[in-house]
């Protein structure tokens, strides 16, 4: 009874997360072909409250907030996905290398991961932006990807070590299977479920970090819209026109919560021994 309740609860949260992430993804995708107004269209009144024409109001230059939200969704998703992809490639490769390395190199890499993780992802990202001496969409993606990579590297290293100590790895080696084949056919599939959950969480982190970078003026520059920059621009008018801050804040919240719940749901679905249990 309680078990089926728990299961219904899980299914509900999974659906909720899919709706949240799905709606924001849809907005981001549609923004490529259609937005209510052009991003640079300043024809609206300044700081209009939400109304029939401007669903989420206008900012202090008279631009449509809903349009900015849609494009902001696109940027958040692109930066999140790009950063996670870069972080995953660097992190998984170095993590597996560390797990296979000799004691000395392994210790060195593990310490390296820990030190990098001790730096906030945002700080690492800011350093990368500073090093490239320009803020652009690709710089933001690269910066956040590098910032995330030690987190992925550390978890990959630990997961790989766990898998390496399993009997089936010894059994594969007994059959004469080479290490590259073992990595591709046994290690990657067995760490993937746990890694996928972790990467989903990193996606949430990346979205937050992108907003922070943009808030600091280090994110994708105009004409891109970013929830972080919207928050920053709405700062001065937060009392007179709160919607300018509330809507991007809510969008950010919804996406990050949605992704985190999705990660939780994935954890339960991925593991085949639990799936049929």
């Amino acid at each position: 009874m309680s078990r089926s309740n728990a299961r219904t609860g899980k299914t509900l949260t999974l659906w909720l997360s899919l709706v949240l992430v799905g709606a924001i993804t849809l907005a981001g995708v549609v923004s490529f072909v259609w937005t209510p107004f052009a991003l640079s269209d300043m024809a609206g009144g300044r700081l209009e409250a939400p109304n029939a024409t401007h669903w989420a109001g206008t900012d202090r230059l008279g631009r449509d907030v809903f349009t900015q939200l849609m494009i902001g969704a696109r940027i958040a998703l692109i930066v999140g996905a790009g950063a996670v992809a870069i972080g995953a490639v660097i992190g998984v490769i170095t993590g597996i290398l560390a797990a296979f390395a000799t004691r000395f190199l392994d210790d060195a890499l593990a310490a390296f991961f820990d030190i990098l993780i001790a730096f906030p992802t945002l700080l690492v990202a800011m350093l990368v932006v500073a090093a490239r001496e320009e803020s652009s969409l690709s710089t933001a993606i690269l910066a956040l990807g590098i910032g995330l990579s030690p987190i992925v590297g550390r978890i990959t290293r630990i997961l790989t070590k766990q898998v390496l100590s399993q009997d089936y790895i010894t059994a594969a080696r007994v059959c004469g299977t080479s290490w590259p084949v073992i990595v591709i056919w046994h290690i990657l599939p067995n760490i993937a479920p746990f890694l996928a959950v972790n990467l989903a969480l990193q996606f949430g982190l990346a979205v937050m970090a992108e907003a922070s970078l943009s808030y600091l003026g280090l994110g994708a520059p105009p004409p891109n819209a970013s929830w972080g920059r919207m928050l920053q621009e709405a700062q001065g008018t937060v009392y007179s026109a709160p919607w300018g801050a509330i809507f991007p804040g809510l969008a950010l919240f919804a996406l990050v919560i949605g992704i985190n719940l999705l990660a939780d749901g994935l954890r339960d679905r991925f593991d085949p021994s639990r799936r049929s249990a």
């Binding site: 010894t170 059994a171 080696r173 007994v174 059959c175 021994s273 049929s276």
Partner: protein, 270 residues
């Protein structure tokens, strides 16, 4: 006469601090069935890992292990891998953990099968590999190979898992099969079935067997010769019959008595 398939000569295994296996010597002829018996922690598994060239990095081996004319101790990983895929194979104690939980059973057998077909320069297409895997599954008496090919380890019984593990071991057509307590994790009826199966296969395919157990009664059914280990040393080596009837060492005597008592207890039951 041909040289023995496996010769272990003055093998010593040690970590930086302790000696785990000391001055071990024995040999196994082609097609011979050899038992290794001893209490938990006596170094049986480490000995078998040394033969496979799979010792953990913390453990150093000295002495000589010669498998099919090739030196194992100190050999490069490349050469060891070749030997493992062709000369020697092994079945482990715990059939659940010895199989990849996320890979269908058939594919786990198919990996070594494909490698062998390639090595032999034979047809290694999907269908050829699959045909070979089905043949192996029949050979280890797995029912319904069609269905089990795509099943995952957690979907079949412990005995069936161990049969899959045996099929994997046979896939590379080894000349020596190492079975490290392959029945300990199974219930008694399944134990008997697996022991019969290993016996039959080893005989049919003329494979030498290194059978490891702490159960004298089980080894008694499997091996022609036996070595008794205790605390990393061999205390007695000889023909099974002789060790069973006229044990020379006090420890072996205790083992034999315990096994007898166990047998009597079993017989005493209705």
């Amino acid at each position: 006469m041909m040289a023995d398939l496996l010769t272990v000569d003055a093998l010593t295994l040690a970590t930086a601090e302790t000696v785990l296996v000391e001055d071990l010597s024995f040999s196994i002829g082609r097609g011979e069935r050899f038992g290794l018996i001893g209490e938990s922690g006596s170094g049986k598994s480490l000995t078998s890992l040394a033969v496979l060239g799979l010792l953990p990095p913390a453990i150093r081996a000295t002495g000589q292990v010669t498998l099919d004319g090739q030196a194992i101790v100190g050999a490069p990983e490349r050469k060891l891998r070749g030997l493992r895929g062709s000369v020697v194979a092994s079945v482990f104690q715990e059939p659940l953990t010895a199989l990849d939980p996320l890979m269908p059973l058939g594919r786990q057998i198919a990996l070594p099968v494909r490698r062998r077909l390639r090595r032999e320069g034979r047809d290694s297409t999907r269908t050829a590999v699959r045909r070979e895997v089905h043949a192996l599954m029949d050979q280890v008496r797995l029912p319904d190979p069609q269905r089990l090919y795509d099943a995952y380890p957690h979907e079949v019984s412990g005995g069936q898992r161990q049969r899959v593990a045996i099929a994997m071991a046979l896939a590379c057509q080894p000349r020596l099969l190492i079975a490290d307590e392959p029945t300990t994790a199974l219930d008694v009826t399944t134990q008997v079935e697996i022991i019969r199966l290993i016996n039959t296969l080893v005989e049919e395919l003329d494979i030498a067997l290194l059978f490891i157990s702490h159960d004298l009664a089980v080894v008694g059914q499997m091996a022609e010769r036996v070595m008794v280990m205790r605390n990393g040393r061999a205390v007695e080596t000889g023909a099974m019959q002789q060790v069973l009837t006229r044990p020379r060492d006090a420890y072996t005597r205790a083992l034999v008595t315990a096994a007898r008592r166990f047998d009597h207890a079993l017989e005493g039951q209705p």
